[in-house]
């Protein structure tokens, strides 16, 4: 009748944070752009700290549209991979000790990605959050919102479709 004792909070945090770190740290391009992720429970917020090398219009100045696209796409792919990884880790099917670059679940593959540029990106930090609208066995659809100073004043939004990596045991 009695519920199992909940795990100590540090153990849970440690497990989730190291899973996230293993996921994010493995991508050279997002490291190069300087993208970080903050976690509240299972919710991720991506952060792109401002850097001169991200400028696309030196006169305004404004962030490069390609940087914004890359930032939102990285947020979409990682958030999607994270929702899958979360289930694996929390159910105990996957142990964080096993998470090396070689055993990491494969990343979803982008089929298409469309960015709406709503305002020019200011020369300061940017934030993004993704919503997995639909995640099926083979395909997923994800929406991403990007903002800077005000959460309600988006500077870009995007939507994309992805092919999910297939588990090795499913042979056709």
């Amino acid at each position: 009748m009695s519920r199992p004792r909940p795990e100590p909070v540090q153990v849970i945090k440690q497990r989730r944070d190291s899973a996230l770190e293993a996921l994010v740290g493995g991508i050279p391009y997002s490291r190069y752009l300087g993208i970080r992720f903050e976690r509240r429970g299972d919710e991720l917020t991506a952060i792109l700290p401002f850097d001169e090398k991200l400028i696309g219009d030196p006169i305004l100045p404004a962030l490069h549209g390609g940087v914004t696209a890359a930032f939102l796409e990285t947020t979409a792919v990682l958030s999607l991979a994270w929702t899958r990884l979360w289930d694996e880790i929390e159910s105990g099917r996957l142990s964080t000790d096993d998470l090396t670059p070689d055993t990491m679940p494969r990343m979803p593959k982008t089929v298409d990605f469309t960015v709406d540029y709503l305002r020019s990106g200011l020369p300061r930090d940017a934030y993004a959050r993704a919503r997995v609208v639909r995640s099926g066995r083979r395909f997923a659809s994800v929406q991403v919102e990007g903002w800077q100073d005000n959460r309600d004043r988006l500077y870009a939004s995007a939507t994309g479709h992805f092919v999910m990596p297939q588990p090795p045991e499913s042979n056709g």
């Binding site: 493995g26 991508i27 050279p28 391009y29 997002s30 490291r31 190069y32 752009l33 001169e52 090398k53 991200l54 400028i55 696309g56 219009d57 030196p58 404004a62 490069h64 549209g65 390609g66 940087v67 696209a69 890359a70 930032f71 796409e73 990285t74 670059p101 070689d102 990343m107 593959k109 982008t110 089929v111 298409d112 990605f113 469309t114 960015v115 709406d116 540029y117 020019s120």
Partner: protein, 143 residues
């Protein structure tokens, strides 16, 4: 007197910090079309297990190339910004090969330019990705 649009476009693109960071070089430009190359670099990798470069780097290349194509249009736009850009990923880029993007303005109104672009590595067909976008247009000498 008048500086040709392709020369303005070239100077404009070569002054973009992020495009220089990624090693982008204009190979051809003029008449609302542009060809830009981007050498392979380990910092662009999206999947360390295969060495395939990240889709985001392809996006940055396509966006720059499309903007350059707009700037080189004979109507002589003074500035442009991306309204939207859709990218379709056909296949993974082959690791260690230079990526090239070719963009062309296929329609232009007073305020908007419609652009198509494709990106490829040593193999041109099928392309790595194709893109379609709408760009804002500001024109010099309105009077």
């Amino acid at each position: 007197m008048a500086i040709p649009p392709e020369q303005i476009a070239r100077q404009f693109i070569e002054a973009i910090p992020h495009s220089r960071e990624l090693g982008m070089t204009i190979e051809e430009i003029g008449g609302g079309a542009c060809l830009i190359s981007m050498p392979y670099d380990e910092k662009l990798i999206g999947d360390p297990r295969t060495g395939v470069i990240h889709g985001g780097a392809i996006s940055a290349l396509m966006d720059t190339c499309s903007g350059a194509a707009v700037m080189s249009h004979p109507t002589g736009p003074s500035a442009t910004a991306t309204l939207d850009l859709r990218i379709d990923y056909m296949r993974a880029a082959t690791p260690r090969q230079t990526i090239r993007a070719r963009a062309e303005v296929y329609h232009l109104t007073r305020s908007v330019a419609f652009v198509r672009a494709r990106a490829y590595d040593d193999q041109e067909d099928p392309p790595v990705a194709t893109a379609a976008g709408a760009f804002t247009l500001s024109v010099r000498d309105r009077g």
